[in-house]
């Protein structure tokens, strides 16, 4: 037992020197670090491999179209024209419609779960939201086509007749209201709802109880409290949750492939027949080979990058928001 020699302290008093803390890792800890890092890097590797593969396979398409790939609406390998703009447009419009419908509903549902319901109902609804997420996309597609679509047609008609001056609702004579991006968006919104609801619910649940009680103790109604405390607090989470939902809506496949004609075009009238999305288009043409397949891969790559950007923005927003709520899938 030797006493460590007092270390010389070169700095003037008042500005003490920080000590470097050395941590000697045990073997188990080193192995632990290696294994977990390995797992994390495997994840990285998988994604990088997929990314490279997509880039590699989409090479011919980019060779053919060059930058025009991003500015061309048509996707027409028969005449050697490859473009992703029409597909991307449809993808984004459908996803936006889905998110625009899903987010307000999610906020309401999240509010109900965190504030307006109690005990058993809360558990039931939370489970229900998860269940909603587990219903296969194929079934949503079938149901949307066979059941929901026909119910929506009269509403689309009504909107067109009465709100026709509003560009997205304006329509031509003899227009058709099935297979519209609106209906597709509506069905996708059901698939987006679970994720947005659970993210927003989580953020709401983290609202500091102190602030909530402060508002109530001032004689506020519940809505007053929600408005002054929960919504401002949850804003980051709401935005982040919407972005995450957007990310999911962008990638929705089978249901959209059944609900849209999948003809790449720019349809301004969202209530009207027409539209295509990248993933739905890929699903409908998955049997292609040669240049067409390469074009599909390129479109897939575009979608991939796009979703990546969306998800990334979402997680940044959520982590920056005051709530700092966790992002869970």
């Amino acid at each position: 037992m030797t006493i460590a020699p007092p270390r010389p302290d070169p700095s003037p008093p008042g500005a003490p020197v920080r000590r470097a803390i050395t941590e000697v890792l045990s073997r188990a800890d080193r192995a632990f670090r290696r294994v977990t890092t390995g797992a994390g890097l495997t994840m990285l590797a998988i994604l990088v491999v997929i990314g490279f593969f997509l880039v590699y396979r989409s090479g011919p398409a980019f060779d053919t179209s060059g930058f025009g790939f991003f500015t061309t609406i048509r996707f027409d390998p028969a005449s050697g024209v490859l473009g992703v703009l029409g597909l991307l447009y449809g993808t984004i419009v459908v996803a936006l419609i889905a998110v625009l419908i899903a987010v307000p509903l999610s906020i309401l549902a999240a509010l109900f779960i965190t504030e307006y319901s109690s005990g058993r109902i809360r558990g039931f609804l939370t489970g229900l939201v998860d269940l909603l997420a587990a219903i296969p996309s194929l079934l949503y597609g079938l149901w949307g086509f066979a059941f929901l679509g026909p119910q929506i047609v009269p509403i689309s008609l009504w909107l067109t007749e009465n709100l026709g001056w509003f560009p997205p609702f304006s329509s031509k004579e003899n227009a058709l209201y099935i297979q519209s991006m609106f209906i597709a968006g509506l069905v996708v919104s059901l698939m987006v709802l679970p994720i947005t609801t659970s993210v927003i619910r989580e953020v709401f649940a983290q609202t500091p109880p102190g602030e909530k009680e402060a508002a109530l103790a001032l004689g506020s109604t519940r809505w007053g409290m929600v408005k002054t405390v929960m919504l401002p607090f949850g804003r980051g989470g709401i935005i982040g949750g919407s972005m995450l939902g957007l990310g999911r809506a962008l990638g929705e496949t089978i249901a959209v492939s059944l609900l849209l004609p999948q003809v790449p075009e720019i349809t301004k009238h969202v209530l009207q027949f027409g539209g295509a999305t990248i993933s739905g288009f890929i699903a409908n043409n998955a049997g292609a080979s040669g240049l067409a397949l390469s074009g599909l891969m390129a479109a897939g790559l575009v979608l991939f990058v796009f979703t990546l950007a969306t998800n990334f923005t979402a997680s940044v927003i959520i982590s920056k928001s005051r709530s700092g709520a966790g992002v869970d899938a």
Partner: protein
């Protein structure tokens, strides 16, 4: 010898038939797997050598023209083998002046060609009025309904259109070269419809046959007409048009009509079908828009496109055995599930194809060694066509010519004794019964021969209760567990 399993993919149109054939093959120990996605996908996968055979209605040349691949199939080498006959029906949704849904539409081939080439664009076109007893339909634009993306059905249908109204078709095609149909060399048919341009405005493209049929059934697209496999029309009881054949008669695509039409089918050297004479067939029973579906498989000799068989002789054995089943026993059920059995000459062609693969002499089929009902002059169950409402209503003669003096009143919907194809279906079943008997007379019917393992199933007959039992089986333990916990807890 153990047979090597063989996989195929492609046409969804032959899906039900393939299921039937796979069942039959299975009972003979032939391992076959088929995945129905779409004809072009099948051809491409065949070309990529990831499947051993493809089911397709579209030809390689069409697929190449559509820019969707097909080249690899050329590299691999292929032959077309007809496997079953079918027909394309015209489903329509039109209301007459009184607002009643029309169910008697009669069309001539040329008019069909012009409608689908967008040469006739309104329902009150005189050409349409002329074939419908002189009664004109409302002055409404015609909306066309077709398949989105690449489809074998489109290929078949537009082959017919090209022959029915060549001028209109050629104009249509040249108008839409840049609109997604592709640059089609002479004789090559499109497998994809224009996705844009002025013609596309009036074309509603849907994802699959089922969607087309449901949409027509729901009448969600007003004043529309579309093409679809006839089986879907039967399934949803959608009104289908009566099409005038070479004899001037109006027919619908029941098995007997298809069989009659295809008697004049010719095969090109590569066995792809040449249907010119089918479209103009003068048999009064023939339905013009009839065609075959193919199996695409490799071959070793006898064709330009043959580039060698399978590396694995076991696969050769499997597929020849399978095709022999398809050619004979496999045809027994076809009329019942919406197809028409192959005629004897094509059944024989199947055997010839096998010979081209194996290099052995082809087996000769005859009524004694082949259970295909057509060898006995029958078509199997469900083959007969219902009567024409305009004929039974006395508006036109059975030969298709309008009756003198009836044009003014025009047909009424209730004029015919049957209001749809189904009514006729029943009679057809009744009359076809004895044929079925003769077809399955011997031990030829594989279904009879197969062990009836599932017949009673041991459990059958308690309806939706099964679902309930299952649900309870899942939930009950949880409830019991909860109760026990509660009891223990308190």
């Amino acid at each position: 010898a153990a047979l090597t399993p063989v996989t195929g993919s492609g046409s969804s149109y032959v899906g039900p038939a393939m299921t039937d054939w796979q069942n039959g093959a299975k009972s003979r120990g032939i391992p076959i797997n088929y995945s129905a996605n779409s004809s072009p996908a099948g051809v491409n996968q065949f070309g990529d050598r990831t499947v051993d055979f493809a089911g397709t209605e579209a030809e390689v040349s069409s697929i190449i023209a559509a820019g969707g691949g097909g080249l690899s199939a050329q590299t691999r080498g292929y032959q077309y083998v007809p496997d079953v006959a079918g027909a394309i029906a015209l489903m329509y949704n039109v209301k007459d002046q009184g607002g009643k849904r029309v169910d008697y539409l009669h069309l001539s081939r040329e008019v069909i060609g012009r409608i689908f080439s967008r040469d006739i664009t309104r329902w009150n076109d005189p050409a349409i009025t002329a074939t419908n007893g002189g009664k004109s339909l409302p002055d409404q634009p015609i909306t066309l309904v077709g398949r989105t993306g690449q489809s074998g059905t489109t290929a078949l249908f537009y082959d017919f259109i090209a022959h029915a109204a060549p001028d209109a078709y050629n104009r249509f095609v040249s108008r839409n070269v840049g609109n997604g149909m592709g640059n089609l060399p002479a004789g090559v048919r499109p497998i994809q419809l224009p996705g844009q341009g002025p013609d596309a405005e009036w074309y509603r493209l849907l994802a699959d046959s089922d969607q087309i049929a449901t949409t027509m059934d729901n009448a969600t697209i007003p004043f529309s007409i579309g093409y679809d496999e006839f089986a879907y029309a039967q399934r949803y009881e959608v009104p289908t048009a009566w099409v005038q054949n070479g004899a001037g008669q109006y027919t619908q695509p029941y098995a007997e009509n298809i069989a009659a039409a295809l008697k004049h089918a010719e095969l090109r050297p590569d066995l792809s079908q040449k249907l010119d004479r089918v479209y103009t067939n003068t048999d009064p029973k023939s339905y013009p828009i009839s065609a075959y579906s193919y199996v695409m498989m490799p071959c070793t000799n006898g064709r330009d496109t043959c580039r060698g068989g399978y590396g694995d002789p076991g696969k050769t054995e499997t597929i020849t055995a399978f095709l022999e089943h398809v050619a004979c026993d496999g045809q027994i059920n076809m009329a019942r599930i919406g197809y028409s059995p192959l005629p004897p000459n094509l059944s024989q062609e199947v055997m010839n194809s096998n010979a081209r693969l194996t290099g052995q002499p082809a087996k000769q089929l005859n009524a004694d060694n082949c259970a295909n009902p057509t060898f006995r002059g029958s078509l199997g169950d469900g083959a007969a066509s219902p009567p024409d409402p305009l004929v039974t209503g006395g508006i036109i003669n059975p030969d298709g010519k309008p009756k003198a003096g009836t044009g003014a009143t025009g047909p009424s919907v209730s004029a015919g004794p049957s209001t749809g194809p189904t009514g006729g279906d029943k009679t057809a079943t009744a009359t076809a019964g004895p044929d079925e008997e003769s077809a399955g007379g011997g031990s030829k019917n594989w279904r009879e021969a197969s062990p009836a393992s599932y017949d009673e199933g041991g459990f059958g007959g308690f309806g939706g209760w099964a679902a309930l039992v299952l649900f309870v089986a899942i939930v009950a333990p949880l409830v019991v567990r909860g109760v026990i916990r509660k009891l223990r807890g308190s």
